[in-house]
Subunit: 119 residues, 2 copies
Amino acid sequence: MTIAETSKKYGLTADTLRYYERIGLIPPVPRTKGGVRNYDDASCGWIELVRCMRSAGVQIEALIEYGALCRQGEGTEERRKEILLEQRALLLGRMEKMQRSLDRLDYKIANYDQILRGK
Amino acid sequence: MTIAETSKKYGLTADTLRYYERIGLIPPVPRTKGGVRNYDDASCGWIELVRCMRSAGVQIEALIEYGALCRQGEGTEERRKEILLEQRALLLGRMEKMQRSLDRLDYKIANYDQILRGK
DNA sequence: TCTTGACCTGGAGTACGCTCCAGATGATAT
DNA sequence: ATATCATCTGGAGCGTACTCCAGGTCAAGA
C-alpha cells in the first residue's frame, strides 16, 4: 500500500504517517527499490493501534516506549503491562473529569431548555 | 481573596489565573486601590466552572464565547445553549474513543496477565 | 522519452495552552 | 523607614503534536 492509500484507510494524513515513523512511534515501513514506502500488514497493525490510542489522547511518549519494548521481545512483558496499566489509569481519570463536565453541561442545558420554553 | 489563596483553592497557578483573565476566559477581577487582584465570589464562580470544563478538555475558545454571551445578558440564551450542546457532543465523542482505547488496553493487560502468570 | 503527479527528506512553522521572566510597584513585619 | 515578600504588567519561551515547505527523486501514462 502506498502512503496515500494508507492515509485514506486510517484517516491520518501522509505527513502524520511519516511523522509517526520518523519519531519511532511505528517501526520503519518497508520501501520499494526506489525508496517509496510500501505499507504491509505489520505496519498497518501498528498504525491502527496508534490511531486508536492517540484518538483517546494517550501520549506519544508512552506509545513509543511500549512499541520499543514489543520490538525488543521477551523479557519486557512486565514493563509493557505496567505502561498499559498507567495509561489505563490516566484514561479513567480523564473520563471521570469528562463525566463531571458532562453532568454539569446537561444541568445547564436543561436550565436553558426551561428558560427558552418559557419564552 | 488574593491570587495566592485563589490559586491554592482551585489548584491553578497564579500565572494561569492571570492568563485566564487576560484572554477574557474569566471576567476582570476586582482590584484593591493599589491594583492588586481581590477575587470575589463572582470571580470564583467563573474560575470553578472554567476549571471543571478545562479539566475535561473543553476548548478555551468555546468557554470565552459562552462567558461573553452570559455577560451580554438576555437574548443570548439560544446561542449559549447551542454552545453547550456542541461541547456536550464533543465530550461524548471523545469519551467514546476513550472507551474504545480502554477496552483495548484491558484486553492487552489481560493477555499480559496470562503470559506473566504462566512464567 | 517526456511530462505529470506522487513521494522522498530534512527542517522550519503552527496552534494551543500554558509557564516563565524582568523590571516595577504594593503590602507587611520590624 | 526599611527590608522583604507578594503581586503587577507585557512579552517571550516552552511542550506537544502535528503541519507545511523546498528542492529533489520516482513512477506511470501518452
